[in-house]
Symmetry: C2
Subunit: 241 residues, 2 copies
DNA sequence: CGAGCCGTTGAGGGGATTCAAGCTCAGTGG
DNA sequence: CCACTGAGCTTGAATCCCCTCAACGGCTCG
């Protein structure tokens, strides 16, 4: 019988996954921040930390979910396709957010989830949540908090990005994207077509507005799907209506 | 010491609230359907069953919530007001739905909740949920299921009612309203202005489309905020695009 | 019976779409 | 090395859907 005085995950030379979990940059804000030490001891063995390229499909709507995911880095979008075949983007999720929570209820995923940028995830099998939930009361509470966050995000998307003149929608989209700014201070700038599916406008209209914002100095260094936002000009554009 | 062989709530002549709970028409589908008999024994004393008239405000955004509500009958809408002062309706909830769940997390309500029609509610203090949650594992699971339902409703609202030509939006709104048809087979028909705030169109546009649908026979008996839907004509209108 | 709200309809204008033509740029292969 | 290609982006012109502004009718209610 092997005696352990300190749990594996606190040793740098422990289980390979333990090192990943220990070094996880979102551990304090993520779902498992609610776990006590005993709970933490259990988790690392079953968790994968996949890194996926941009545009990779994380999961598909209708698929029976067997895992929920924490986003360690990157940006994820949720989309679905209407009967008539149009794509509709319904919200975004970023660093620290939990996605695919419906899997925990043994329900199929509600939307397609796709990587906007390269993403690093933390894959949590639902069976692991089941086991932990049995004794970790805080975890269930934290899980519900995540649900509320997702609900709020969906509601805001509907209220702010799907109403009003297209210029205002695009400006508000930029505000959302600015919240997910990367380490170089630049935002992810979707293709014009994708902007259209987010805001329910055409790609031509999106392109015209982006061009205009660039001329106004709101957007700078727009290339390769990235851009920089001028805070000053942005505030001015928002205030002008 | 009084000995009770059967719990109060199962006697027709018990606690006044017990009779209400016992006769509740949504008990099997509502949140407390997850409770075992021991749990049920506890709930009825603290629960109020207010009946409110149409247009009554159930709660307000930003208010610290102390209760969640089950809708026993009627229709409820969630709305918020933008910085520029426009109202945006973000989703509906009906019979059997749970609303104001964010209160359970000690968070302020996210939206204004208003009665579309006269409503009967079941008011559940969050402290009661706390106590029950301590021992009723099923209740927490059921609570999360409600959150997922709300999330799905918000997502669909965004994808279906906030995109495409205004005629299609209005038709899809009617589909939603038809799901909440009352005992007389009629749907609640919002004012044209409210339709506008739901679909992000003007009241004039809403009025024009409603008039046209009436001429096409899709809508019948439109008066006093109610109407009847012709299933045949409706299907035809939807298919035509 | 006048006031006010809701609903309806018309006329005109504007913003977004549609249709179309080039543009840039990265990747490919002769 | 550079024409070729295709995807994404941009811009223009014409059209159309929806908004704006306006007038009016029905209804309830004080």
């Amino acid at each position: 019988m092997l005696m352990k005085t300190t749990p594996l995950y606190r040793q740098d030379d422990g289980h390979p996954q333990a090192r990943v979990c220990l070094g996880c940059t979102v551990r304090s804000t993520a779902l498992f921040g609610a776990l006590d030490p005993v709970g933490l001891d259990r988790i690392h063995t079953n968790i994968a930390s996949p890194a996926l390229p941009a545009e990779h499909t994380i999961y598909r709507r209708g698929h029976p979910g067997q895992a929920v995911y924490t986003i360690r880095s990157g940006l994820v979008r949720f989309e679905r396709v209407t009967e008539s075949g149009d794509r509709r983007v319904v919200r975004l999720a970023g660093r620290g957010d939990l996605i695919g929570q419906e899997a925990f209820l043994r329900a199929a995923y509600e939307d397609d989830a796709l990587a906007c940028t390269p993403v690093e995830l933390c894959r949590i099998p639902v069976t692991l949540l089941d086991d932990l939930g049995e004794e970790q009361r805080n975890l269930l509470r934290e899980l519900m908090r995540r649900w509320q966050l997702a609900l709020e995000a969906a509601t805001r998307w509907s209220a702010e990005l799907r109403a009003g003149p297209s210029r205002q929608r695009l400006l508000r989209l930029l505000v959302v994207l600015q919240r997910h700014v990367n380490e170089h201070g630049q935002i992810w700038l979707p293709t014009r077509e994708l902007m259209g599916d987010m805001l329910d406008i055409t790609e031509e209209t999106a392109s015209r507005i982006v061009s205009q914002l660039r001329r106004e100095g709101v957007l700078r260094d727009t290339r390769l799907g990235h851009a920089r936002l001028d805070a000053q000009a942005m505030a001015q554009a928002l205030a002008a209506g």
